[in-house]
Amino acid sequence: MKKFIPIGVLGLVSILIPAFVDNQYILHSIVMILLYAYLSTSWNIVGGFAGQLSLGHSSFMAIGGYTSTLLAIHSGLSPWIGMLVGGCAAAFVAVLVGIPSFRLKGAYYSLATIAFAEGLSMLLQTVKRIGPIDLGGAEGLRVASIPDASILDFQSLSKVPYYYIILVFLAIVVFVSWYIDRSKLGYYLTALKEDEDAAKALGINTQQVKLIAAGLSAFFTALGGTFFVQLIRYVEPATIAGIDLSTQMVFLAVVGGMGTVFGPLVGSIVLTTLATITQIYFGGSSSGLHLIIYGTAVVAVILFMPPGHGIIHPILKMLGLAEKDGANKSDGRLNEAAAPSSRKDLVRE
């Protein structure tokens, strides 16, 4: 139970934050930090657990955001329900695209995801309407501002409701990640990530497992997309389907420790906070500054840490919570099994 203490502390602190932070701008920044943590944890389900490097994940955010907004505009449907519809749509698309894509090896799959996302982004920017439905083209769509909006409208003037909503989302997706990690699905994912051929030889239906991971990941990412749209009350293809968001999801998860449950969360909080602070002090117009920081962090983590490890691993070591068994240590090393002398727990006498 010792390992739940840091989570408990974090949880308690996070519930109390809005009580101490009055500045709406700072609160907005914190909401964004949590949103990125949420998104990168969602990405991690397919990117880290399954090892499928999806570099076009923002396309699912776009599907979520556009679905909920279009449904709200044309059928008056509550954004909450629209959000769930968007999630299912995204999961469906992920499975559809995944069926042919997952047959491809590593880099080919990544290229396919980039091509798909870029194509979707360009399509959304160019196609202004499909029949009676106005897609807004490159200018995007506005989410109507509802006066005296309640939480049921998924809107508010103050950032505080948004904060708690994203906090709950984050808790849910981290719990789902944690649950998957411990479940049989999690073991299948780890197996296929480390050696797909061996996993297949053991009888694991790797295609099906990958599709499940992709669907789940896309579902949660799309929910995040709707949240994002409701937060800024605007959906625009260049942002929501852009390479910037896709890249950030990947980088934050990798730096934190892809394949671990809390890695993306830690990576996001550390890097996004750093980027936000830097942006405040070094001028806000330089939009690429945060990516320079993230890019450098990614290169550094890949160069200097063991494969699959991120900054969460030294942190866990410092807290004395480093896992000894293989469940949380997805670093892809095949020779782990070749060093049985370190597995004292296997020796019964």
Binding site: G106, L111, A112, I114, A115, E118, M122, D195, S286, G295
Partner: protein, 291 residues
């Protein structure tokens, strides 16, 4: 239609040139260089700076760009990529290398954005707006020169790979690195050289583009995607595949403007590529084993 075809061939030769570097790097080292597009952008900025500060004429900048890009390639491989590949040598899927090149690409793009700003830069030449007419086809002069340069470099590159000693060594390492090692080849050195050459060829593409293409830190992305499409179409590791693939992509992109607004021509290429990828991932000339 003929005009469009010719335009497609002209730009396709550049795509092929870009793809050459990419396919060489993959063929020899099995590394997919996600930073290829960004490095093209870097070479274009080097050419731009050479014109503006050194006063060189656009094509003479090759003297600066080619060695510079070779050096950059050599260093990137030595310092960044090889260490990661060595660390991951016992892992089935070296996604670390992928993320590394991707991270490098994002890093470089934003550093250049910070240094050069978001404005487009371009160079003016005496022939920027001139065109030449052959029969019923009108060709912009800079693009024609680019085509000529691309063709010359492609031929030189092919000759180098087939006829020179270093070319032979590189091909040997590409075929079987362990045997080459046993034969006394300094494989890490060859990797560095191959990466350097791949980027040097990329640099010539950059020089060819600068006279008629506006320079901005983000232009690397679209060229990168087209280069990947080209390489995968032609087959990873295949030199003729890269050339043929480039020409094909250029032609498809150009000709489809007959039916589709030009802003969507890239989408057509992308989605056509996706479909192709699902049918034959090995590409036109590639070996099935690489897919």
């Amino acid at each position: 239609m003929l005009s469009l075809l010719v335009q497609g061939i002209l730009i396709g030769s550049i795509y092929g040139l870009i793809a050459l570097g990419l396919t060489l790097i993959f063929g020899i080292m099995r590394v997919i260089n996600f930073a290829h597009g960004t490095l093209l952008m870097v070479s274009m900025y080097i050419a731009f700076l050479s014109v503006n500060t050194l006063g060189l004429s656009p094509y003479l900048t090759l003297i600066v760009v080619v060695p510079a890009m070779f050096g950059i390639g050599y260093l990137i491989n030595m310092a960044l990529i090889q260490p990661v590949l060595n660390k991951e040598s016992d892992v089935r899927e070296p996604i670390g290398a992928l993320v590394l090149t991707f991270g490098l690409s994002v890093l470089l793009e934003n550093v250049f954005l910070a240094v050069f700003g978001p404005n487009y830069h371009s160079i003016r030449t005496s022939f920027s707006n001139e065109t030449v007419q052959i029969g019923s086809v009108i060709m912009p002069v800079p693009k024609l020169y680019a085509f000529l340069l691309a063709s010359v470099v492609t031929v030189l590159f092919y000759l180098f790979l087939q006829k020179s000693e270093m070319g032979r060594v590189i091909r040997a390492v590409g075929q079987d690195r362990n045997t080459a090692l046993l034969m006394g080849v300094n494989v890490p050195f060859v990797f560095n050289v191959a990466f350097g050459i791949g980027l040097a060829v990329l640099g010539t593409a950059g020089v060819a583009l600068v006279p008629f293409y506006n320079i901005h830190p983000s232009i690397g992305n679209i060229f990168a995607i087209k280069a990947f499409v080209t390489v995968l179409l032609g087959g990873l590791g295949s030199i003729p595949g890269a050339i043929v693939g480039g020409l094909l992509i250029g032609i498809v992109e150009s000709v489809c403007t007959l039916w589709v607004p030009s802003t969507l021509s890239s989408v057509v290429v992308l989605y056509a590529f996706l479909i192709f990828l699902f049918i034959r991932p090995a590409g036109l000339f590639g070996s099935e084993h690489d897919a």
